[in-house]
Every structure is written in structure tokens, then in C-alpha cells.
Symmetry: C2
């Protein structure tokens, strides 16, 4: 009995799989609104301080999360794909929406214990799967925060950060 | 037996309390380096697009995480404190380090089931404790991402985002 209690404490969740999916998709809704908020030309050209335009940052998110969710489910990883995810806002948003659907479809198939397993994401980044997942979301928030500055510098009000609906 | 298995699946962790603390403190190390990277005067004055200078963003993080960890542990929340956390870089970093220590001290005292409880953070924001915690970290990453743009606009190389040591 003692051992069971110990195990339950050690493996108690801060976040369950269901909660993490909802959390991630909430952030993805905000990021989608940031892509939408950019004027077409500025999305692919504007930046501050020599950084990448927001289309390139959104492409990185797509290239990370889509093969990423495959790798998390299957344990098979390709090398990171650096090619552009689209050349228009419409294409980028289409790609975005496809990834959203894909994550919703594959997520429930991930076995519960998988989140605590170690793996080498994209054949390069070793660590527990939950760490890889947190990195996907953190990287999205980080770059989207940059997008907020780009929008403000363009005189455009960004979507509220706290609204994940 | 069936019920137990169901329960374990539902409450299986993506992230355990220990992992979440390590994750949060890893991000706090990066943010500390961003505060340090700003020249003293720019920390309190520079911004892009009419946004808040980084000292104000760091103050928000301090005002969120320090009473935040108290509220998470005790269930008692004060109203959000909007006063500045310091008027020099040294003061800000001192406050930052005190909060880091406080989080390390209080975290192990949080009962495992607390993370899934509902509460009203700062008497205003209702939701599960894990959601409040995610918000603290997400808000830090979001505003720090803005700080990265400020630094780049100042011609300063920001600390690497991926290095959490």
C-alpha cells in the first residue's frame, strides 16, 4: 500500500493529457488570430531588429508541431523541414488548420505513459516527451510574443493574449 | 479493477509537479538573463510600438508569481499589485531571486491534488490551479518574447531561448 501511495504522489499530474491538448489548442487559436491580423505583405516581409517575419515564425511552428505530433505518437522522426509552409496568408492558414485537425485526431491515440518516455525529437533533441511538447507550445508563445511587437509597431492591435476561445 | 484503470488513465500526468517546477525555474533563468542583458536605462525606458518597457513586464511577472505561489499553496489571494518591483536593475534582479527561492521553498508543500482544484486567482481569474500556473509561465514567455525584440532592436544578442540551465 505504501508503495502505491508513493507512486501515485510521484506520478500525480499537474496537467492531464486532456488538459494539455485543450491548453495547446487554445494557444493555437490565438496564434491563428495573430497570423490573420497581419496585412498580407507585412506577414511575409515586416520585422523588427532584423528578426524573421511572422510568416517564417508561423512556418517554424507548423514544421515543428505537425511532424512533431507524428513523432510523439509513433517514435519515428524525420529531420526538421525548413521549407516555407506557404507563400500567401491563405495557404499558411490552411496549413495551420490542417495541423489543428491532425493534432486533435492523433492526440487521443497517444498512450498515457508515452508522455514520460524519453525520445530524440527530430533525431536531434533528446528528452522526455512532455518536455518536447512543452517546447512546442513555449516556442509558439515565444515567437507569437514577437509577432505582438511587430503588430504594435505596425499600429495594429493584437488579439488579446488571455482569450483562448 | 476496471474503475481503477479508468481513473489512472484520466489522471495520468503529462507533467508531474517535480517536472513542472523544473520547467518553470528553467524559464525563470532565461528571463533573468534577459533582464541582465538590458542596459540599465533601456530596461526602464526602451520599448517598441508603444508597449511597456521590459522592467514593467518583469515587474508583472514578479507581481504574478510571488503572491501567485502563496495563493496556490494557501488558497488566499490578494488583489493584483501593480506597483513597480524596483527602480534599478539590481533591485529587480534581487526581487527576481527572492521569488525564485520562494517558489523552490513553497512548491514541495503544495498537495498533489491541489493542481486539479478550482480557485479564483487574485480574486478575479477562475479556473483550475494548473491553468493558473500555466498562465504564469505562458505570460512570462509571452512578455519575454517581446523583450527579445527590444534587445534585437537595441542591437543586443538575447540569451538563447532553448538554454534553460
Amino acid at each position: 500500500m505504501k508503495t502505491n501511495v508513493m507512486q501515485e504522489t510521484t506520478l500525480s499530474p499537474v496537467i492531464t493529457p486532456e488538459a494539455f491538448l485543450a491548453h495547446w489548442q487554445g494557444h493555437r487559436r490565438v496564434t491563428r488570430r495573430v497570423i490573420e491580423a497581419f496585412p498580407e505583405d507585412k506577414l511575409f516581409s515586416f520585422s523588427v531588429g532584423g528578426m524573421r517575419p511572422f510568416a517564417e515564425l508561423a512556418t517554424e511552428m507548423i514544421r515543428m508541431s505537425s511532424p512533431g505530433i507524428d513523432g510523439i505518437l509513433t517514435g519515428k522522426w524525420d529531420r526538421f523541414d525548413y521549407s516555407p509552409a506557404g507563400t500567401t496568408k491563405k495557404e499558411l492558414l490552411q496549413q495551420w488548420d490542417e495541423v489543428t485537425e491532425k493534432i486533435n485526431t492523433l492526440w487521443p491515440q497517444i498512450p498515457a505513459q508515452r508522455f514520460l518516455e524519453n525520445d530524440i525529437a527530430f533525431g536531434q533533441y533528446e528528452g522526455p516527451i512532455y518536455g518536447t511538447l512543452l517546447y512546442f507550445v513555449d516556442n509558439e508563445i515565444h515567437h507569437r510574443g514577437q509577432g505582438y511587437v511587430y503588430l504594435r509597431a505596425l499600429g495594429i492591435e493584437p488579439p488579446p493574449f488571455w482569450n483562448r476561445m
